[in-house]
Symmetry: C2
Subunit: 269 residues, 2 copies
């Protein structure tokens, strides 16, 4: 009888997930600077009659994090440097906008093809330093920057929501991004809290019993991409998506910000 119980436990631990459910919060309110996002999410969960269970993942669009943290900049307020003015002429873009991109970046990677590809101060490689001019409820001169410290934002949101609803949850902050080699944008994980970003299967066996050399799966990016399907354009139509059924227990819990590859380790650079 005792042996039976042990075997059952082992099977449970090794059972891989066979289903996932994604639910977008409907009618999520427009977010304004200094809104309490954890409170808005808790209220919306109630209005949507969604029961959060321990282990649920809440995927949140970067844009509403940035809005609640008042990461707006007005291009008109910016005094561009000579570098920004020169680059503005070259690319026929507003030098104030370029100055904001430069301020958000640690280096310019390319200005070919009429875009500015940079290494963002957070380490991300992205176009225009991830700065957004769409889905902003103000004039064309206003832009929205990425959160200053998305890992800190993710951790705070996780703890604040947990306090409000008394469940253990995970948070992923997601943004959409173009990619090398592939058309269109997909959602990726900008940062996360209380969930693994990467599963390293090194040393595990494949289905034929061969030991795998190295297969790291970017779980947080896959969860983000899944949530992106429901968020709508600019991740703004439905900026909060709940993922149920994802088993986060077997893995270490690294912040997704660590999914950024250092240049010397990047096989493509």
């Amino acid at each position: 009888m005792f042996i039976y119980v042990i075997v059952l436990t082992q099977i449970t631990e090794q059972t891989i997930m066979d289903h996932l459910k994604l639910i977008a919060l409907k009618d999520f309110p427009l977010v304004k600077p200094s809104d309490n996002l954890s409170l808005l999410i808790a209220e919306s969960l109630q209005l949507n009659r969604i029961e959060i269970e321990n282990g649920d993942v809440i995927v949140v669009a970067q844009k509403i994090i940035s809005k609640s943290e008042n990461r707006y900049k007005n291009i008109k307020d910016i005094v561009p440097t000579k570098k920004a003015i020169d680059l503005g002429k070259e690319l026929q873009r507003d030098p104030g906008f370029i100055q904001i991109i430069l301020d958000e970046s640690s280096k310019i990677i390319s200005t070919d093809k009429n875009i500015i590809l940079v290494e963002h101060k957070l380490g991300l490689i992205n176009i225009n330093a991830g700065i957004d001019r769409s889905n902003i409820d103000q004039k064309d001169d206003i832009v929205l920057l990425l959160p200053e410290n998305p890992s800190k934002s993710a951790k705070k949101l996780q703890l604040d929501i947990e306090k409000l609803i008394n469940r253990s949850i995970s948070i992923i902050i997601t943004d959409s991004m173009t990619r090398p080699y592939r058309s269109g944008v997909t959602n990726f994980a900008l940062a996360s809290s209380n969930i693994q970003s990467l599963i390293d299967l090194k040393g595990e066996q494949d289905i034929y019993g061969n030991t795998l050399k190295s297969t790291e799966i970017a779980i947080a990016d896959e969860l983000s991409a899944a949530a992106g399907l429901l968020m709508g354009q600019g991740n703004d139509a439905q900026p909060v998506v709940i993922i149920k059924g994802f088993n986060r227990d077997n893995y270490s819990k690294n912040d997704a910000i660590n999914l950024i590859v250092k240049e010397e380790d990047d096989l493509y650079r």
Copy 2:
């Protein structure tokens, strides 16, 4: 009364998806050359008691497509060219394996960092031409190539399954791939049938009524990444995942093979 009906139709068309459900087929049999994959999937659906509805998306791991199409190669059968022998010495890899990579590729992009980054004949940029040495039930000398024509495989599988179960379905063939700038692999869409690969929101309005300039979402890649969460390592533990609730009606149905970006259009190259 008539007006009421029209209004209702418009609302239905504009309603965005608010949930998705993903289900992996459990105990899917190991696939062997010349297995009838549509039959295996139809049988497994029955065993798993999963009811397919019109519009469901069936995401299938590339590996079982390749296996059913007998895309195995034995490295020992290959006579390497001088180029493969030289490259083999440089990278300390089996020249036969390198010859197979060369045969699958239209050009080598880089051999830095001890990997072979190529443009695959299908247009994909990937490492080792997407050739797999894991999860193969044979000796180390056997490798598995990508399907010769994944778009054709996707179309055939779609039509064959539809005949068997009498429902309108979509097929995505997915593989996992490393990516520039980001750690770990994610699943992407190698090819698809009867589903949009890319949603172009150009001309639509954002939530504040501004017209969007250009936001193409790589839907097929996001669906693949979502399915990848359930497939397990190498996409082989659960190689078939059903996605329910995805609204594919509003969009054109381009094969996901077209998600590959031409070099001149690639903002990162």
